[in-house]
């Protein structure tokens, strides 16, 4: 505390020493509103700037003490077009180092598009946001104490220009106000402290004020937040956010009592962080919330067509000085965020963290583009450090291009959209499925090759030769079976010809069929001969040989019977016997045939099973 006061006094001294008007600009009116309701300090200054000089002025300088400037998270200046509620136009802001200015101040220049002509005036709103500017005092509190903080600023608007009239309002979160600087003319109304109005102050006027008040908000600071946005052209964007949170308010001392926390919820741990609310884009899906050691089951989700709201509770309440870390992740529909323009694709997605009132010391946004994306460029509305990386995920060969954007001191105001432009060939989409398919294909081909390859080491061993012979025997038996089957199908043809005969009475065609079948059967029996010869001679076939022989014999018998039957039936037809007569004549053959057929079938099955 004392150090801070000292600094402020030094500044004051400096300011009085350097009272040189910078230019012809005069600020005719300043209204400042400092919002201290959360742990982020937001200062909105409305400046009415007048050009009292002769030349057109195209820039306005803003001065911020270095002490504050190091905590500056965002500086935005805008003016309203036209009177009343026109559209706000942002002014570009750059940090400058003008000569002859005190080194304890940082200067920012607002450049005006058209310049401010002589005698004209312009109303500019400047929003400055500071983080880590509320100091807890006392620095250590017990669980039931309230959290008191100290804020310091100047009662006067610090400006390199002369300020004609100004006022300052400080908005406090309510509750106890321990003390505040009453000089000059400070007064407390409700939970607001008013300073001013002050008239006609020279440039660099500075009057330190110190406010000591109650602020029970959890000072949620993420030391590091890594957001990974992974684009998949198969239809979704996967966002993963790794948080590393701490409560930067007054440090808890004297332990934590669950009893007090549970039973006296107002008394026990008012400044603790109980829950966080993340506002996710609509249609977010597959949301998860976990940490290094697993899923965290205390979260709730609401969603409608405009937003998805995720309410998460850390594993334990976070008191001052405590830390935690966790990961949330969600999927987003691709078409809501990825667009195509002029053959380029661009991703349009928010930059910052989706949670309220979280200060991020170090934010790293990584955009992981699909494998094969080219010509990647990023446009972010503010300055970030950029680098390119490669990430290997499922089925990646060359890796996915990653753009990493890093920014320090991020506040919710930074949660704006940014764009990543890249080129991507649609055909690359097929790369990974094709790779999978070819992988499996190779596996199967390898299996087939293995099954067909001869892996035995010794080609002359007895068992190996026996195996070869057995294979040969099996192949021969297979051939025999095939021949028998063809014979059987020839039999069937004969039978159908008989059926045809009974229907049409065409004896000639029936005879022709018999002739053909006869020829076929003869040929087949000729084919059978060498096979049988081999089987008989092979020692490996000794066991199977009798069955095969029997099969062939039975088949032969069947052939004969069938022929006889065929001849008999045709004969009968030629002699024009009645149906009953024919049936009577054929019956014995028929019986014999069906018995034979059964036997042949059984034999075939038996041989199959060997």
């Amino acid at each position: 505390m004392r150090k801070v006061f000292g600094c402020a006094l030094f500044l004051l001294h400096l300011a009085t020493w350097m009272t040189t008007a910078r230019s012809d600009l005069v600020i005719s009116k300043v209204d400042r509103r400092i919002d201290l309701t959360s742990h982020i300090v937001r200062v909105l200054s409305t400046l009415k700037v007048e050009n009292a000089g002769r030349v057109v002025v195209s820039e306005i300088l803003l001065a911020i003490p270095n002490m504050q400037a190091k905590n500056l998270a965002n500086l935005k200046a805008f003016y309203n077009e036209g009177k009343g509620k026109g559209s706000a136009i942002n002014l570009p802001v750059t940090e400058v180092h003008p000569e002859g200015m005190p080194p304890e101040l940082s200067f920012y220049s607002l450049s005006l598009h058209e310049g401010l002509e002589k005698g004209k005036s312009l109303t500019v709103n400047v929003l400055t946001i500071f983080t880590h500017s509320l100091q807890p005092f006392p620095e250590e509190i017990s669980q039931s104490d309230v959290q008191l903080v100290v804020y310091q600023d100047s009662a006067y608007y610090l400006s390199p220009y002369e300020v004609k009239s100004q006022s300052l309002n400080v908005l406090l979160p309510g509750g106890r106000v321990e003390s505040y600087t009453k000089h000059p003319s400070g007064k407390l109304v409700d939970s607001e402290i008013k300073y001013g109005p002050y008239e006609k102050l020279p440039p660099f006027s500075y009057s330190p004020i110190v406010l000591h008040f109650e602020n029970n908000n959890p000072f949620v600071v993420a030391h590091e937040l890594v957001r990974e946005i992974e684009v998949s052209h198969w239809g979704s964007i996967q966002v993963t956010e790794h948080y590393n949170l701490a409560h930067k308010g007054a440090t808890n001392k004297g332990g934590f009592s669950r009893l007090d926390y549970q039973s006296r919820s107002y008394m026990g741990g008012r400044s603790s962080l109980r829950q966080l609310i993340a506002r996710l884009p609509p249609r977010a899906h597959s949301i998860y919330y976990r940490d290094d050691i697993g899923n965290i089951s205390t979260s709730h989700l609401w969603g409608d067509s405009r937003k998805t709201q995720l309410e998460i509770e850390p594993r334990f309440p976070i008191f001052g000085g405590w830390r935690t870390s966790f990961t949330i992740g969600y999927g987003l529909p691709l078409q809501d965020f990825l667009f195509v323009s002029e053959g380029n694709r661009f991703l349009n997605i928010t930059f910052g963290c989706p949670m309220d009132e979280v200060v991020i010391d170090d934010l790293i946004v990584k955009v992981v583009l699909p494998e094969g994306s080219k010509e990647v460029s990023v446009s972010v509305p503010f300055h970030t450090k950029q680098r390119h990386e490669t990430k290997y995920s499922h089925l990646d060969i060359i890796g996915r291009p990653v753009v990493a954007l890093e920014k320090n001191n991020v506040v919710p105001e930074h949660n704006t959209y940014f764009q990543v432009h890249y080129k991507f060939n649609n055909l690359s989409l097929l790369w990974e499925p094709l790779m999978l398919i070819s992988g499996f294909l190779l596996l199967f081909v390898a299996c087939i090759a293995y099954m067909h390859a001869d892996m035995s080491i010794s080609k002359s061993s007895a068992s190996y030769i026996a195996k070869l012979q057995w294979d040969e025997v099996q192949a021969t038996v297979q051939q025999v079976q095939n021949v028998i089957k063809r014979c059987l199908s020839a039999h069937e043809k004969l039978e159908t010809s008989l059926q045809d005969l009974s229907r049409t009475g065409d004896v000639q065609s029936c005879k022709a069929t018999r002739k053909i079948a006869d020829g076929l059967l003869k040929e087949l029996s000729k084919e059978l001969k060498p096979l049988m010869g081999f089987l008989q001679s092979s020692p490996q076939a000794a066991q199977i040989w009798p069955k095969v022989e029997e099969l062939v014999a039975k088949e032969k018998e069947m052939q004969e019977k069938l022929m006889q039957k065929h001849v008999a039936v045709v004969d009968c037809f030629e002699k024009k016997y009645s149906g009953r007569e024919i049936e009577n004549r054929v019956a014995p053959y028929q019986q014999k045939l069906s018995a034979l057929k059964q036997e042949v079938d059984d034999l075939l099955d038996y041989i199959d099973e060997i």
Partner: protein
């Protein structure tokens, strides 16, 4: 056949002809019986494989993909280390986070099989470009190996009986609760891999004995090596196999095949096992491994005698030689053993081994073993719970085994009987018995079903109606008819019995599914209960506390807790612990037990001497969680008292009764554990209509409601009070 003149309608021909055109193609597609059988067998096996994996995923569906229980956390932590730092770093790892201030040489005190397996799977997947997290690999390792076990069980069943029995064995073991209990997803423990290795080793050995092939014996030696690298239960193999060889010798089944199989397996297996640092030279130095060595030498003597008998060719001469040779061999053997024991080269049996043989040993001599719930003797109910119908099928299977005695069935019978005994001694060894019980039961099921279907099919075939297929049934009918002439209602009875068997087996399946989903899928880190409205309430207090430790204590803080939570604190809390689940140093554990059971000021001195910064206790008084530290407290007293006689168990009891209410012993009411558990609990109303300070876990109002802590302060208590962490205050200034 074709004589029905003109009776067929005129529309019939076209379809008939098209049918004949189609027939050849269908015939070509039609598989042969053998191929059909193969297809059915392979698809059944594939389904069983998937089933074995899928049924173990209940825990992932009910909870999440997480590591379960206690030991798996250590395994997970070491696997993580292995994948991050590589094998050599892992092998040389000195872990200073456990057993403070002693530390632990991880590489030399663990079975690395599980970690190396998981890491290999992980590296393979990454090589194939599957960017999975190591946790997922670890969670799914046990189900994956359970699936592989079913395949081994199939081949084993095929080896000892037939492929039908193999299929039944695969199906039974896939869902056997006794096995599932240690292999659900997330149960990343040695047993998950070891049962696979155990069964594989046995299968390969039986195969080697059956074939006498050097290749199979070599394979079984490698199987044994894998088993040794994975689990301490390898001692079972190295004792069962020689016992089996001995039985074969005694029953006159000695053969060259056995000689080849055992010698190759023993010598190579021993040499390979010595490569595991934790096992080292135990195979030649420890009493537990001596049986194998004895049988090895016995086999040599046997072989030598056989050879002498062959060369001498004279029975009389041989017998006198036999007498001399045997006395020499026995005296040399016993002398060597005696000298080894006397000089201390051969270590005697360890207490753990004794406690396996004698169930009452641990209770009297090693309280630390007896204190573990999974080391208790098994109750009948848990046999029923874990085996269900297998318990009845087991004796039936034994009957079939004896009926068709062979080298292989003798093995499975011995495996079954010995493992059943061990399962009776310790609850956790049900796991070892499960494969044997499944295999033997599968023989019973398969043989019974086969007989019944034969009866039915035989009848079928006898009737001329059915176009019966295959000579198998023909033969069967022939066999059946030759066996006995059909009894009056034989077929109906057979159908009824088949239906009964089907009913029993389906009950088994239902029971297994129910047991898996209800009893064995809880990670025990996350507790689930039914809320007042029937909704599911989750108590995630363990992880809440461990994560608090991880994030909000100094990185070098030392945590004192009872040893059960040691692995979890190091793995999830990433903090140094005084004792953990690797209970190798009884004195250190006893010191912690002594601190917990002393008065606060005495405990403070002990804690200061151990550099303790935080004390963690588990307390179930608010939620009614019964396995908390107060219920374990008597074991702390017992173990502490075993080393430090100042701790006397009777001082904590009132008339031999353990109580925490007003009637409790004064020492109990003021010891550190009591104070830490019940600090400020007297102000809490836990249940409506009960006085404040009502302990729901024990159902009493506590006796000391005004607990004051002088040397410790409450640092953190989880939302359901299950874990309470206290900070040890720094010493007071003297002036």
């Amino acid at each position: 056949m074709g004589a029905k003149t003109g009776s067929s309608p005129p529309v019939a021909p076209p379809p008939a002809s098209s049918a004949t055109a189609l027939f050849p193609s269908i015939n070509a597609l039609k598989l042969k019986t053998k191929q059909q059988e193969l297809l059915i067998r392979v698809s059944i096996l594939a389904l069983v494989y998937v089933l074995a994996f899928a049924i173990r995923l209940f825990s992932v569906l009910r909870y999440e993909s997480m590591i379960h229980e206690f030991d798996p956390y250590f395994n997970y932590r070491t696997t993580l280390f292995l994948t991050e730092k590589g094998f050599y770093e892992f092998w040389n790892w000195f872990d200073s986070e456990s057993w403070y201030p002693l530390g632990r040489i991880i590489g030399g005190t663990l079975y690395p099989g599980l970690m190396v397996t998981a890491a290999l799977i992980y590296w393979t997947l990454h090589f194939l470009r599957f960017a999975v997290h190591i946790r997922e690999v670890c969670v799914l390792t046990a189900p994956f190996f359970a699936s592989n076990t079913t395949i081994v069980a199939y081949f084993f069943g095929k080896e000892i009986w037939d492929s039908g029995a193999g299929l039944v064995a695969a199906a039974l073991i896939a869902i056997c609760p006794g096995y599932i209990s240690r292999s659900v997803a997330g149960s990343y423990d040695n047993e998950g891999v070891a049962i696979f290795a155990l069964l594989l080793t046995f299968y390969l050995f039986v195969k080697a004995v059956n074939t006498g092939s050097l290749a199979w014996a070599l394979a079984s030696a490698f199987g044994y090596f894998y088993m040794v690298s994975a689990w301490g239960g390898y001692v079972f193999i190295i004792n069962l196999v020689p016992l089996y060889v001995l039985v074969l010798l005694v029953t006159g089944r000695y053969s060259m095949r056995l000689y080849v199989a055992y010698n190759c397996m023993y010598v190579l297996g021993m040499l390979l096992a010595m490569q595991i640092r934790f096992v080292g030279f135990q195979h030649v130095q420890s009493g537990e491994h001596m049986a194998a060595m004895g049988v090895f030498f016995l086999l040599q003597v046997f072989y030598f005698l056989d050879w002498v008998k062959f060369t001498l060719n004279d029975p009389k001469l041989f017998y006198s030689f036999l007498r001399i040779a045997l006395t020499c061999a026995i005296s040399v053997g016993s002398l060597a053993l005696g000298v080894g024991m006397a000089t201390g080269y051969i270590s005697p049996w360890t207490g753990r081994f004794y406690s396996l043989l004698d169930p009452t040993y641990a209770k009297d001599h090693i309280p630390i073993i007896a204190s573990v719930s999974e080391h208790q003797p098994t109750a009948w109910s848990s046999f029923m719970f874990d085996f269900h119908i297998l318990l009845f099928l087991f004796p039936a299977g034994l009957y079939f085994c004896f009926k068709r005695l062979s080298d292989a069935t003798i093995f499975i019978v011995m495996y079954g009987l010995t493992s059943m005994y061990f399962a009776g001694v310790m609850v956790r060894l049900i796991l070892v018995a499960a494969p044997a019980v499944c295999l033997i039961s599968s023989i019973a099921v398969s043989a019974t079903l086969k007989n019944l279907t034969m009866l039915i099919r035989a009848k079928n075939n006898a009737t001329p109606m059915g176009s019966s297929k295959g000579t198998a049934s023909l033969k069967a009918s022939a066999k059946a008819s030759s066996f006995d002439q059909p009894l009056p209602y034989q077929r109906n009875v057979a159908i009824a019995l088949l239906l009964g068997a089907f009913y029993l087996l389906s009950r088994y399946a239902i029971h297994c599914t129910w047991v898996t989903s209800e009893a064995y899928s809880s990670p025990s880190i996350v507790l689930a209960a039914r809320g007042a409205h029937g909704g599911r309430v989750i108590f995630d207090d363990y992880r809440e506390a461990y994560f608090w430790l991880r994030k909000n204590t100094p990185a070098d803080a030392k945590i004192m807790s009872w040893w059960d939570y040691g692995y979890q604190i190091t793995a999830m809390g990433n903090r140094t612990v005084i004792v953990d689940n690797n209970t190798w140093n009884n004195t250190h554990i006893a010191t912690v037990g002594r601190a917990m059971s002393s008065y606060e000021d005495e405990a403070y001195d002990i804690m200061k001497s151990l550099d303790v910064d935080y004390v963690l206790v588990v307390f179930g008084g608010v939620t009614g969680y019964s396995s908390d530290d107060i219920n374990k407290f008597l074991w702390m007293v017992r173990i502490g008292g075993g080393v430090f006689p100042v701790i006397k168990e009777p001082e904590y009891l009132v008339n031999g009764e353990y109580r925490v209410d007003k009637g409790a012993a004064p020492k109990m009411l003021n010891c550190l554990m009591y104070k830490l558990s019940y600090y400020r609990f007297g102000e809490v109303t836990t249940e409506y209509g009960k006085p404040p300070g009502y302990d729901r876990a024990r159902g009493v109002e506590i006796g000391n409601k005004d607990v004051k802590l002088e040397y410790l302060e409450e640092a953190f208590t989880t939302s359901n009070w299950i874990i309470r962490i206290y900070k040890v205050k720094p010493p007071k200034n003297r002036w």
